[in-house]
Assembly symmetry: C2
Homo-oligomer: 201 residues x 2
């Protein structure tokens, strides 16, 4: 994994073999407003899984790490680094299950390249998305309406609780429900190399 | 929990308070073919979460247990009983996160009422869904096309590997993205009673 400064031109040679079918699915489902919504599962300290919808915000340039954003005050921070993303594409009826490890990039991150990636991500957000990081603490007793009336924050200076959340995939299960009968392909990272196999659906 | 013979007329008094907003969401999203698809997270023996799309097949009559079907040969059998379902409704932009415990009802189940519920579920499936339980073992090396050419099974006699999967909710987090700014309501089962609270999104 290259944690150096993100480059704006991804190294095509570094792309995992599942990136091509995923890009294809994204393209073919681009007319659906929610094609970038997926469900991220983590494990709670009490042993129960947690599962929520997140926006997949593309990849960190130069590698295969998926980008998300999260609030440093949210519950998922503190649920460990083991995760599985379930990404279903309704139009083409296919599913990618992407298992991997999470890395949280907050304001205290010691890596200059990742801090820059955090600033880039903040800048790319919509005004509404940026504003939500200034709302009262998530999950606490509902605050009054006035607590949600806030001036839009500077788009160059990330809010204190804004975090870039990265996921480094180690296993991908691609299922196509439209196959005959169905197609299912497993991609597994072994000793730094992606191995691919076709399995029963 | 009433594991007696399922009745065809649900006891309205037994319905949890989150059933009403969920029924409303289902109704308002009924034009979407995938409104009954949701993502079920469990925990793998290696500590990673697992997450996959399932069809939510309504409720077991007389209570709040969600119904799913699964193949007894699939990986989720053996991932414990702790689960969280993430159910996102695109049209109304709302999400239900439903945490609870799973119960697998297979052919060896000792409860006559649940065995009947398993037969009822089998009968309600489409021919295509029933057929998939006779396919070669899921996740194994891809079998030849001829292994998937099978006569439709009897709709009154469940296939050996067919399982009814039930989920008994203990916690529900309902988020409405369209609120001003957003509405989020938590339902928690405490000593057999559902407690409800409004929290920050």
């Amino acid at each position: 994994v290259d944690f150096s400064e993100p480059s704006s031109t991804p190294d095509k040679a570094a792309l995992a073999p599942w990136r091509s079918p995923l890009a294809h699915a994204l393209h073919r489902n681009r007319s659906l407003p929610n094609s970038r919504y997926a469900q991220l599962a983590t494990v709670r300290p009490d042993g129960f899984p947690a599962n929520r919808t997140l926006v997949v915000r593309g990849f960190l340039p130069g590698g295969n790490q998926l980008r998300f954003v999260t609030d440093g005050r949210s519950e998922k921070v503190g649920q460990g680094d083991r995760a599985e993303l379930c990404w279903y594409f309704p139009k083409t009826r296919e599913q990618f299950r992407i298992r991997g490890r999470l890395r949280l990039v907050d304001a205290q991150c010691a890596d200059e390249g990742l801090l820059k990636a955090r600033r880039v991500m903040w800048h790319e957000l919509s005004d509404g998305a940026r504003l939500s990081f200034l709302w009262p603490e998530p999950g606490r007793e509902r605050a009054g309406a006035e607590a949600f009336v806030i001036d839009p924050p500077d788009n160059r200076v990330p809010a204190r609780d804004f975090c870039l959340l990265l996921m480094e995939p180690i296993y991908v299960d691609h299922l196509e429900l439209r196959g005959e009968p169905q197609n299912r392909c497993i991609y597994r990272l072994e000793n730094g190399e992606w191995e691919m196999s076709s399995v029963n659906p």
